[in-house]
């Protein structure tokens, strides 16, 4: 089956990220006694929570050949809606429901613009990014909302009693597993890859590409609203300037996990390893007192390495093999934005 070959052929950088993660953990434990402790693990899990939740649908989107730059603004809009509703007397539980509806609406808007108006997702989500962020300020302006109910913020802040894991772990772990299964073991996953490899061919093969991708954006909106709830509870407040810059962090994490920006290629476990690895490496670097400037340099370098290393390996190998043949230019791999 083509599908199985594809999975096998994608074993590569994602495995490398896994190895890197193991290495980071080993080295981290060696260089600082504060790294491999349960409390630090709790911090790391809490720290990567929102990015992990958003990275899951983003992986689907990028493999399907699309992108969404509005996720951070959408997260902030959901959080702001929750805060606004609560501040205007809506019981907190219902405020969360409103937040989820808002999240679904943001996804539906993106999905509509990209699929039914046929606009480039990179361009149009720059637009909705501004739109959603603007709405956050219309809602909350200069009045961030605090003093959310203790019961709910406790879920965001505290650990599951008797463990070192935050409550959000109970939400994130199943989501990760579901995403993994959906992408690699169901028809939805096959459709995702098909849409990314060739939208036209997928269409001819009977996949309702437009509707499928529309629902993918709606699902992204849903996941963003879950991330927003985790975010709101964890910081016990709602502010219009929430999650600034999370879109690039998330996309960088997905790409670092070996997903091809051109679409059609990548694995979910690569992304999962990648998100954990980025959290782990930041923790190690912080614990050995690297400055935040150095953290930026490391992030940039890792991203470049993640694409350069497999490529260089491939090129070296290609050179060895095709020494006798006439070189043919690779036509496919220098496309960037789809």
């Amino acid at each position: 089956m083509n599908f199985l070959t594809r999975i096998r052929s994608s074993i590569g950088w994602d495995k490398g990220v896994g190895a890197l993660l193991v290495l980071t953990i080993v080295i981290g434990s060696l260089v600082t006694p504060d790294f491999a402790t349960t409390s630090n693990l709790g911090f790391v899990v809490q720290d990567i929570g929102e990015i992990m939740i958003i990275a899951l649908p983003m992986t689907f989107l990028i493999i399907a050949g699309e992108i969404d730059l509005s996720v951070a603004s959408a997260l902030s809009l959901v959080s702001s809606s929750i805060g606004y509703s609560f501040a205007h007397g809506v019981p907190f539980g219902w405020a969360l429901v409103i937040g989820i509806l808002v999240g679904l609406a943001t996804g539906a808007l993106n999905g509509f613009l990209v699929n039914y108006l046929g606009l480039q997702s990179l361009a149009v989500t720059i637009g909705t990014m501004g739109l959603f962020r603007g709405l956050c300020f219309v809602l909350l302006g200069s009045n961030p909302v605090n003093q959310l109910p203790d019961f709910w913020t406790g879920l965001g802040i505290n650990n599951i009693p008797g463990t070192f894991l935050p409550w959000s772990f109970l939400l994130i772990a199943p989501l990760v597993i579901i995403a993994l299964i959906l992408l690699h073991f169901t028809r939805i996953g096959r459709w995702t890859f098909a849409a990314g490899i060739s939208s036209e061919a997928a269409n001819f093969a009977g996949i309702p590409v437009k509707r499928f991708k529309f629902f993918m954006y709606v699902a992204t909106g849903f996941m963003v609203s879950l991330a927003a709830i985790v975010y709101t509870l964890r910081f016990a407040s709602a502010s219009p300037d929430s999650a600034m810059g999370y879109e690039l962090t998330t996309i960088a994490a997905v790409l670092f996990g070996g997903v091809s920006i051109a679409g059609g290629f990548g694995t979910m476990w690569g992304v999962i390893f990648s998100v954990i690895e980025l959290g782990a490496i930041r923790s190690v670097l912080q614990l050995v007192n690297f400055s935040s400037n150095a953290l930026q340099i490391v992030s940039g370098s890792l991203l470049l390495f993640s694409v350069a290393v497999p490529k260089v390996a491939e090129m070296l190998k290609a050179r060895r093999e095709t020494r006798v043949k006439t070189p043919t230019p690779s036509l496919t791999s220098s496309r960037s934005v789809e």
Binding site: R8, A19, S142, N146, Q147, F235, S239
Partner: protein
């Protein structure tokens, strides 16, 4: 996308290992933290790489030398609460004794501060405090002066510049900046009651406030927006060092007649004061602010200072006592004009 990936794997792994090994070397050669006998104090600005906080840290480091503590300056590159939380976690994990922090977000860092407090770390907010409802998360807040004093002082400066008449606008930092919002709230009624010939361009101070997000580009754009929306504006107050600098630069570039004042670092504002673009700006001394905050934290850790209203601590030669809200004030801001800018610009 093509090729026979299974064979590639070995090469890739080799390469990955090489990268990781490089990383390992970098990690191992990282500077180990000096393990002095004294206190371990973390100094956390809203964001590193900002001149104001570099000066703030200078004062903190001076105090640290005097009390023989080990101080580490650490913080994110972008001034957001979530980014600061990652570093607060680091402070908890590395078991610092004291955390001196300028809150980048008055709410978002509170849960983490509470965790740090539970871990026995004494927390002093300095320069920017957490929300009043979360005052119990820190021992004390060392602030320059009461919000009302800072706000009203700025109104007096702009009144002096415009001759006590005309319409006034405010060019602030981010809409969510708690400090600025408190100062602006104090400006509103003071201007209308004290100066009958002055008014806000938009009717009320809220409608006359523009947000430059503490970013040079956006602050400049908002300065232009004020001028185009209200051509008759007589004066602009910018209660943020980034904003007042952008306003001064744009006023000079456009040769605009509007008067500008606000809170500015003398070293940054010197060229504009020397050439007359701006008559007067003010600011407290951020060096003192950092200095005093470290002493407050050390005294709290030593148990000689509780942070209760009425209690006091010593910093250098001066003594500071805590007033309502758990705050210790430094004193009124300094003002800088042509007469003294040469002296102050060399200091901070």
């Amino acid at each position: 996308m093509k090729g026979s990936p299974l064979n590639m794997q070995k090469n890739k792994l080799k390469a990955v290992l090489a990268v990781a090994a490089l990383g390992a070397v970098a990690l191992v050669s990282a500077p180990a933290q000096a393990n002095a006998a004294g206190l371990k104090i973390a100094i956390m600005p809203k964001a590193v790489n900002i001149g104001y906080f570099t000066a703030w840290n200078k004062g903190a480091q001076t105090a640290c030398k005097e009390i023989k503590a080990t101080c580490t300056y650490l913080g994110p590159t972008e001034a957001t609460g979530p980014a600061q939380v990652q570093f607060i976690n680091q402070v908890i994990q590395k078991k610092y004794d004291v955390l001196v922090i300028s809150a980048a977000d008055q709410n978002a860092i509170v849960p983490s501060l509470n965790k740090a407090k539970a871990a026995g770390i004494k927390i002093v907010t300095s320069d920017a405090d957490v929300a009043a409802t979360a005052a119990s998360s820190r021992v004390v807040s060392v602030l320059p002066a009461a919000s009302a004093r800072i706000g009203t002082a700025e109104v007096d400066w702009i009144a002096a510049a415009t001759g006590g008449k005309g319409k006034i606008a405010v060019l602030s930092a981010a809409a969510t900046a708690a400090n600025q919002n408190a100062w602006i709230a104090a400006m509103g009624p003071y201007l209308t009651s004290k100066y009958p010939n002055m008014s806000w361009v938009g009717g009320t101070v809220d409608k006359s406030t523009f947000y430059g997000d503490d970013d040079a580009t956006k602050s400049t754009a908002q300065f232009d927006a004020i001028l185009s929306q209200y051509p008759d504006v007589a004066g602009i107050i910018s209660p943020t060092t980034v904003g007042v600098l952008a306003a001064a630069q744009e006023k000079k570039t456009k040769n605009a007649s509007v008067k500008v004042t606000g809170l500015g670092l003398p070293s940054q504002m010197a060229p504009y004061i020397e050439d007359g673009t701006v008559e007067k700006v003010g600011l407290w001394n951020p060096i003192d602010l950092g200095y005093v905050a470290v002493y407050a934290g050390a005294a709290a850790k030593a148990g000689t200072f509780t942070g209760k209203v009425g209690s006091s601590f010593k910093a250098g030669k001066k003594s500071y006592s805590v007033v309502a809200g758990g705050i210790a004030y430094l004193g009124d801001p300094f003002t800088f004009d042509k007469s003294n800018i040469a002296t102050f610009k060399a200091i901070y």
